[in-house]
Symmetry: C2
């Protein structure tokens, strides 16, 4: 027997399904209503309110979840003591699948709760800036932008590419890795080397 009752497990499953669906639905249309999300999750609107008293709670939970996953990736990168540009390549490789799922964040940063979400992403931003800073100090990354901004741009580039994904051409991890490395000021040859290396 599991420590949790079957009842609790079912609820957990429902809750997660709501979150998963909300992530996708809101990714397509950030203004989608609770009704849309509920229907897509196979429950009634009222049920969603049972798990999330307000729409803002759902959105916050979604953002927290995303931040958590991204933070996990960042921790993994930090543990790695490879060169900074290789670390970035690894970061993009791990971030890529998340970038697809959490495309929402881009849209959510604007909108009602923009400030709240921005705050949640604060630690991610800082960690990222640190990484970029180290790269700049080592001469690996360019100085055409301050570390903080450069990190944001490179980061946003990955999401932008993920966004274009479903359109023609279908860029992939490799393209995202190369392009974001180029943004950071890595040479084209080195960028390709790292991207191909990552694919193994």
């Amino acid at each position: 027997m599991k420590p949790e009752s079957a009842r609790a497990r079912a609820m957990e499953k429902t809750r997660n399904r709501i979150l998963d669906v909300a992530r996708d639905i809101l990714g397509q249309n950030p203004d989608a209503g609770m009704g849309d999300i509920a229907t897509a999750a196979g429950v009634v609107r009222r049920t969603v309110y049972g798990y999330f008293p307000a729409r803002s709670d759902l959105v916050r939970t979604l953002a927290e979840r995303a931040v958590e996953e991204i933070t996990d990736v960042l921790k993994e990168i930090d543990a790695d003591d490879a060169p900074v540009d290789a670390a970035w390549a690894l970061f993009v490789a791990r971030l890529w699948p998340l970038a697809h799922r959490y495309r929402v964040l881009l849209a959510l940063r604007r909108g009602e709760q923009g400030d709240e979400i921005h705050a949640l992403l604060g630690s991610v931003d800082r960690t990222l800036a640190d990484l970029v800073q180290r790269g700049q100090d080592a001469g690996t990354f360019g100085r055409h932008l301050p570390a903080m901004v450069l990190g944001q741009i490179a980061y946003a580039t990955v999401f932008t590419i993920a966004d274009q994904h479903r359109a023609e051409g279908a860029p992939d991890v490799r393209a995202a890795t190369i392009t974001s490395l180029l943004v950071l000021g890595t040479s084209a040859s080195r960028a390709h080397e790292l991207a191909d290396q990552e694919e193994r």
Copy 2:
């Protein structure tokens, strides 16, 4: 006497003020209502409806205006027979002030009228893709992404940087030029050269 009556001129002025204000307000919050826009423009909501029967009309006009301005820039670039990367640098330099104003477009491409706006931007996208394609054929730009997508990404980068502008660090035209050129696969040294040359 001007061919237009003072009455007509005043109306034209009001109409433009509404559009200008709408551009700024919607840039800050794409979900702002007609009331917000009217108030900010110093008129009553009812008056705005006098010029634009529906919200969607206002938004479309705004998008058309932006496309027009960007198209003008593109024409100017096409007339210039400089190397492709220099042409891009010139493009960014001319686009930069517009990128600030029409930050809205990024948000507007999602949202209700996303498809409509996307269609309006179609010709811009194609012209841009052609430019990038020429660059790729000449070996000036990289091939890590198909021309169409690469153009979009480089273009989006400029807007993304303009977006970060009001935050700390305050990136400028130079940073935008360099970064977008890097995205396109131009070498760091050449990118700096072109950016500095543009500043004169």
